[in-house]
Symmetry: D2
């Protein structure tokens, strides 16, 4: 059967990224406190570069490589292995992957101590370039509460507050490791108040008062997280964004910072 | 050229709805205070019933009918005309349409009086049955603020509040008319506080204090809107739902009611 | 601490549904061929009716009930137990639940036999009414290929085809059981061709030729699935919809049927 | 009333972007063939940089600036004016804007000549930096058909095809102008076949046969568009991505290229 993808291409254009998106697969991710790991729902993007001489890449091989890692308990360091497998199997100069998954962490309510699950959108992202340099990114989206300092200051009582989403993307040297659990805690520590799935009345009182005593603009959240990321010696790159779903508007406030150390 | 859709079908199954979804079209909608109307971005769903004897319907005719109404300034009463046109053009027993559009209303900030636009997701929905009875539904999604009565009561200061979305769907006799402007005002009057696009500091103070003095569970919002819809003699059907994007959780609270008078 | 939710409400309006939406939780679902079941990512909606006398319901109890079922291997029959637990814990007359989850099934490519995962959006939906009657619904969204019979017939070569999504919702007597695996197979058997995650060239040839030899309008897909559901003695209710993401348009074609036997 | 945003901040961190997202507003965009322009539904993102000394920015001013441009007929060159207004009004070093809007173009069916509207997601994106340099980006998402060359080659009859989305982002010198109409035509010329809202049978035959005679991988689409963008002297930057919603898979194939000349 003819291999159309392998046909010569005469347009003389190498392509930077060719691949698949929206590949759904169950993966197992190692947790900080559980070697067995967690089975997660994952949507994968995978691509390779394509030399100018070939007409197309062999897309089914991405799925084959991914299937090989279905049973394993993944750490961020496995991303490098996956990428080199992709690179070899598709005879490519460079390779890219992003695994977007739903990560659950058990969390205790602040006063009652009741336990429940919080779900965080997280990603492992990585690339290997033509010189075989590997770069890894850890990404998490953390829901938090922000309470408006201006609203508190100018009002006789109350202050508008809302759910906000803090996205953190970091990179670090390959001989180090950062757990999602720790990155999420870092994010939550920069909020007006953390968010929980299960709160009894004593917890709701605590969360309400904590937020009121700890007012933060999106600008404050970004500066607080930037301070913590700047002082972290392992992290050599970060991109952070907080978006607050303003309770008094139908649009959102946001702040954004990106830094390569 | 052969007409495959017109071929006889032997499975003996009439189909209730066959048609198109996600048809994007600019429409002109009449405003309460502006005969010229407003040009809106619309996504249309249109369908007809299909008798058991025919294999398929002629989908392109939906688009043709819709195009005929592109230039006109639509009122809810035009929906009936569109449906009868569809019914005739496709020789169908019954017809259905839903026009989902982005509707803008200019709104004044409560203290400063500054004007800005609020955008509301709205729909005109209608059907004509095999007995030529016409039924029309008016739908709107109104963003509001809710402030939690429990959080206010049990906390020394502050109270969690958040953006919420109140969906109202109503039907009424065809010899009456309800303006979107009025339905949206009704919805906003059942909130802890209305929402605005543009608020100066004096407005933010007003909105914050209003919400604090007017705490509402989703249950309160639903009961308040139900009371108003029950007492409206024109309305003969309603379905209402409010969903609050809780600032202390990553999930939402909701309340729902449906009623045919 | 005062219980605001338990306060008397004087508006005299019982509410049909009060509860939570978008609760994310990992659940374990029993598979047809695996008693151990599958860990799935789930988004839950849960609600109860609220008598006119109470101001609010106790939302945290929904999460508590759900947490109790986190470790168990769920069958559709467990939905009844969850609902009665909710009803008791919240002292409610009626209760409702919908669990939307990502369900994976291993599937073999049609010629090469290569195995890979297909992901299907599925739901368990149930309600218990004031007379303690339990009603259960099984829902699945199945991606398929449809190839247009008209395009094939009128064109010298080729025929437009596209991904389509077939949604099936069924209900059946509580002393019976239908596996998601079987419902999904039923859906796939009504397509122009099934869809796979991993196809080698010999499979792609097979899938292309199968679709071409098996052209179907959305009307054909609906009639074929309706025939199969009508002839199934266990099923006492169904609602089916197929939506085809037309490759020649930027809008979709759909067909819909609902039936209570 | 105290101005909390103007308070001194001691964390010594200037912020790159602070602003608003999801601001909905109706705008008027000038068309190539219509000086009157088109009223479009727009979602805006606007931000400024914030010096380290100030605690927050004044978010309401973004809305004020945007409101000033509501009635005007916008060209891409107006983006520069908006940005300088934002910069001045918020006393900022740099400013950023992205206007995402729904753009309609009337299109004729290829054989019958019937006219209908196609809707394209488009954006005007711009930034002014601390040196007052202005950079503008024009973005469009164009739905097209792709027909698989491999599937055609290896199959006795037929070939799988599908809707795909081609995103093009370009930048060019400020003394030039590129119309959305022309950028969209460029995109459509790189497809297996263009897409239309309204096709009669003779058009459907044409579109089906055109796609079959013009098979393209996502790799082919990207190379064809890259060739055209490379040979355009006005364009000094481009980023292109095509994503095909494969009819034989439930995931997508994509190709991506970025280039600064």
């Amino acid at each position: 059967m003819i291999d159309v993808q392998n046909q010569k291409d005469k347009r003389n254009i190498p392509i930077q990224r060719v691949g698949v998106k929206g590949v759904e697969i169950p993966l197992r991710i190692e947790k900080k406190d559980d070697k067995e790991g967690l089975i997660v729902y994952c949507r994968a993007t995978m691509s390779v570069s394509l030399p100018s001489c070939f007409r197309g890449t062999h897309m089914s091989r991405f799925i084959e490589v991914l299937n090989d890692y279905k049973e394993k308990c993944l750490l961020s360091s496995d991303i490098e292995k996956i990428l080199f497998n992709v690179k070899n199997k598709l005879e490519a100069d460079s390779a890219y992957i992003k695994l977007d998954f739903k990560y659950f962490i058990e969390k205790q309510a602040p006063v009652s101590g009741y336990k429940s699950n919080m779900c965080y959108d997280c990603s492992f992202e990585g690339e290997v370039d033509e010189n075989c340099n590997f770069k890894f990114y850890l990404v998490t989206f953390v829901p938090i509460t922000t309470l408006c300092p201006c609203s508190k200051e100018i009002s006789q009582f109350g202050a508008h507050n809302q759910r906000a989403l803090l996205r953190i993307k970091v990179s670090y040297d390959n001989n180090h490791h950062i757990w999602l659990e720790d990155l999420i805690k870092l994010a939550e520590s920069c909020s007006s108040s953390e968010i929980y799935s299960l709160l009894k009345r004593e917890d709701e009182k605590f969360v309400t008062e904590t937020a009121y005593q700890n007012p933060k603009f999106v600008e404050d959240v970004i500066r607080d997280i930037v301070l913590k990321l700047d002082s972290n010696d392992i992290i050599n790159f970060y991109e952070v964004e907080v978006e607050a779903f303003e309770s008094i508007h139908n649009h959102n406030a946001f702040a954004y910072q990106k830094c390569s150390k």
